[in-house]
Point group: C2
Chain length 256, copies 2
């Protein structure tokens, strides 16, 4: 009888020095580094499934990955230590859990939550230059929240997404569950947005829309017209990657 086990990994990473999560030959990726460490430890080839495929420069404090292992060497606690000894400090594994075979980090996820951080001050902060978008001109938080409230519910977000190559017919319909701008201390704010799932670059595009509204360049009410255009060029520029953090992935029932 062959041993087989589905495994869940909870991890955080700083995206600055990775070309995103998804593996790509010849470049450093989170998925590539994690898979390589797993294969080295377990002595077998593994295939990772991920809850949120983050882009280059995007961070995660609570990413979830799953894979199947045939290795009888699996010891969850030791795997945490072994992975961290290989992947630190840019990647930090929080937990390794043996889960039932119906668990899939991507398809079992019922909600993703992201934060987008902005420093709205005259001067950038070099200590956080790779963690927040610096916008020197004043932003109107109320207007941004008005824009965010329009995102709620189910929409076809074609105008706010980068369509994956070779998938001309894939659906861009997503359900936004919450979207709010929260003021932080020291002239900072962050956007907290959750949905069943997001299309590629969707959070950055919606953040870009809010910032266009908050800076007075766009009117929040243009949201409907942009949606209807079903054309990326109808939307304002997307926000840069480094302010974005995957904060939470939910499995199972979601509080409404």
């Amino acid at each position: 009888m062959t041993f087989a086990q589905t495994v869940r990994i909870d991890l955080a990473y700083k995206g600055t020095h990775f070309r995103g999560f998804a593996e790509n030959p010849g470049v450093r990726t989170v998925g590539g580094e994690l898979r390589s460490a797993l294969e080295q430890i377990l002595g077998e080839t593994v295939e990772l499934t991920v809850a949120g495929r983050t882009d280059a420069g995007v961070h995660a404090t609570a990413q979830v990955v799953s894979f199947r292992t045939d290795s009888s060497r699996l010891n969850c606690e030791r795997l945490v230590t072994a992975l961290n000894s290989i992947c630190s400090p840019d990647i930090r594994v929080h937990a390794v859990t043996a889960v039932t075979d119906d668990f899939n980090a991507r398809f079992s996820a019922t909600e993703r939550m992201y934060h987008y951080a902005i420093l709205n001050a005259p001067q950038a902060d070099p200590l956080r230059a790779d963690l927040e978008w610096h916008i020197p001109d004043p932003l109107n938080l109320d207007a941004m929240n008005q824009a965010g409230s329009l995102f709620l519910g189910e929409h076809d977000f074609t105008s706010f997404c980068r369509r994956p190559k070779g998938q001309p017919e894939s659906s861009m319909i997503r359900r936004i569950r919450s979207a709010k701008w929260v003021p932080d201390t020291h002239e900072r704010m962050h956007f907290e947005i959750s949905a069943n799932a997001f299309c590629h670059q969707m959070v950055r595009s919606l953040t870009g829309f809010c910032v266009a509204v908050g800076s007075g360049k766009w009117d929040a009410q243009t949201f409907e017209a942009v949606l209807k255009a079903k054309d990326r060029s109808a939307a304002p520029p997307i926000a840069p990657p480094h302010g974005l953090v995957l904060k939470q992935v939910t499995y199972g029932k979601v509080d409404q």
Copy 2:
């Protein structure tokens, strides 16, 4: 008549990718980068004086530098923009000010304040790995504050300092004005310490003492004995550089 002007620069920097402030041939330093940018813009050689000579990996949100210029091209506002266009994002110049000739960033300073940041949680945070010292074992904040309170006043800090080469007789007497541990959110805390001046590696050594006390390895009351030893090897290990930030330099009268 020759034009001559003393100039003050207020700046912030992330120390991670610098080998400290002080210039050192063949390595990247904050002072070297700033001087080179100034010379390029002003078309003359300049010599920098700095309020706090930070070590490799140490950050500053409010460093102060002064220099003398003979250049008649000096325009403070344009110099801010020109310096930032060369030195961003690791260095951020906040202000350039023409000051009176009696101003010297180092010798006119009456107080320096540093923060030392600690994450006291089981898991490190990769997003802030170069901004805080991760200590997984629980720390006793009250005990650390008890240790900090013993630092107050004037002492000979020989046991807590790295003596500069070639200065066997230099005084290590400094006056600590405040020293307190402040709890932050998310299992974080920081040490806020101010003095008329600090010797080399003194804040990191005093932080190391507090952590030794907070983890239960040392007793706060050993502070007097360590002071009296006048020997670095009598003190606990110093804290790593990356949790340290120069937060404020005061000129003129200090509130007691």
